[in-house]
């Protein structure tokens, strides 16, 4: 199966990290369902144009984190992602994005009041749109 991972060659982020982060979010967000058989290490490396060494490392890491499991002779599957992990992932992703936004505000000397005001306005606009 084809896994939609996009490698950015001009990014400062190491190749291995780009693949791991994207695969992880595909699993946790449920884009790749529980029980899905992932491509073999060599096949995936061919798709991504990287080496099997990198893909093996990613699979091993995600296995340790409980997101993947390997059945000898069959391949690597997506494990059950608990409700807790999903909530945790959501919180971390949002927190990280907000932290970046606050850092930007600090770097242009935007005050706390002003930032809160901008934040509330954006929330109102966006959530209004969503409805």
């Amino acid at each position: 199966m084809w896994i939609p991972i996009q490698i950015n060659e001009n990014s400062a982020e190491p190749l291995y990290h780009q693949i791991e982060t994207q695969l992880k979010s595909l699993i946790i967000s449920g884009t790749i369902a529980e029980g899905t058989l992932l491509p073999s290490i060599r096949e995936f490396a061919g798709d991504l144009k990287c080496s099997v060494i990198t893909v093996r490392r990613v699979y091993q890491d995600l296995e340790v984190q409980g997101l993947l499991r390997t059945k000898q002779g069959t391949g690597t599957f997506v494990s059950h992602v608990g409700e807790g992990a999903m909530e945790e992932y959501k919180r971390v992703a949002v927190e990280k994005a907000l932290e970046n936004a606050v850092d930007t505000a600090l770097s242009v000397q935007c005050g706390e009041e002003e930032l809160n005001e901008i934040f509330r306005k954006i929330v109102k606009d966006k959530y209004g749109e969503a409805k």
Binding site: S11, A12, L15, Y16, R42, G46, K49, S51, V52, I53
Partner: protein, 303 residues
């Protein structure tokens, strides 16, 4: 590191007008190692030594952790398949089934159903004599029969030369699948950078009979960047690049804009920011460019 399929220790080979070596190299089992380098850099001579078509004057070669100075034992040869740069003339007057029958005799692990499957997959004509085939068809036959022997070690000397893009993709897929099934080791010499990108795990670079080094392919990711910055004058640009380790080819591109190549730029980007220099743009160098720099003596892994 994994067990070695091949190991070279101080191997030298004298050719009429050049010397190959001394070569020190370890090829790990279960991986694809790409051998790259210009024409005449010694890649084919190295391959020939690995199948004992020629012998080094000095040094030692080990196969699966053992040296065989008195000749490769038959059982080991039966586990090595070799696709030479130019096909052997001995098989010229045979059709593919006839040549396969001959090879089957020498390779006890020969897998006839697999051979038939590959003949179909590669669309190799069955009735034509090998010498009457097009270069690409002959190449496909060579690759199919190398794999049908079910070897543990594949030595492929420019296997894709003459293949059309469709056959080329089929070859890459077939090799990958074979390695998945068997855990075999592949040493492939090639001039096609895209082949290295899609297939290789390790890269070995040869230049004028010497090994410039071996590296894990992905360690080359982001090894070099081309960077454009604001710079008032050439002096200013040179001052600035002197502050960064591993910069090359600094030049003024236009009034106020300078460019240079930087090794592991992302590690040093902050230093530029601290100096108050504005980076206009940066791009990662392509594998091809990284390899050319390496041939010029600029090793990608060193700072």
């Amino acid at each position: 590191m994994a067990q070695q399929a091949i190991e070279l220790r101080n191997v030298s080979k004298k050719r009429p007008n050049k010397v190959i070596g001394p070569l020190n190299l370890q090829i790990p089992q279960g991986y694809v190692t790409a051998l790259v380098g210009q024409n005449g850099s010694g890649k084919s001579t190295l391959m020939n030594m690995l199948i004992q078509l020629t012998y080094p004057e000095e040094g030692e070669i080990r196969w699966f952790e053992e040296a065989h100075p008195d000749g490769l034992p038959l059982t080991l040869r039966q586990n090595i398949a070799y696709v030479p740069e130019t096909s052997m003339a001995e098989e010229n007057f045979w059709t593919p089934p006839e040549a396969a029958a001959f090879r089957r005799h020498w390779y006890p692990g020969w897998d006839q159903p697999f051979f038939e499957e590959l003949m179909n997959r590669f669309e190799i004509p069955r009735k034509a004599r090998l010498s009457k085939m097009s270069k690409g068809e002959r190449r496909k036959f060579e690759i199919a029969s190398a794999l049908a022997a079910r070897p543990q070690l594949l030595l492929l000397d420019e296997p894709s030369s003459g293949l059309d893009p469709f056959a080329w993709r089929t070859m890459l897929d077939t090799l990958r699948q074979y390695m998945d099934d068997t855990g075999a080791t592949v040493l492939i010499s090639t001039h096609i950078v895209e082949e290295v990108r899609r297939l290789a795990d390790y890269i070995v670079l040869m230049h004028r009979g010497r090994l410039l080094g071996m590296t894990e392919k992905d360690s080359l990711f982001g090894a070099w960047n081309e960077v454009w910055v604001n710079a008032g004058s050439e002096e200013e640009l040179l001052e600035l690049t002197a502050e960064l380790p591993g910069t090359l080819q600094a030049k003024l591109e236009a009034p106020g804009v300078g460019s240079f190549l930087a090794r592991h730029f992302h590690r040093n980007e902050k230093r530029l920011q601290d100096m108050g220099v504005k980076v206009i743009k940066s791009r990662s160098l392509e594998l091809e460019e990284i390899l050319s720099l390496w041939m010029e003596g600029y090793h990608p892994d060193k700072d």
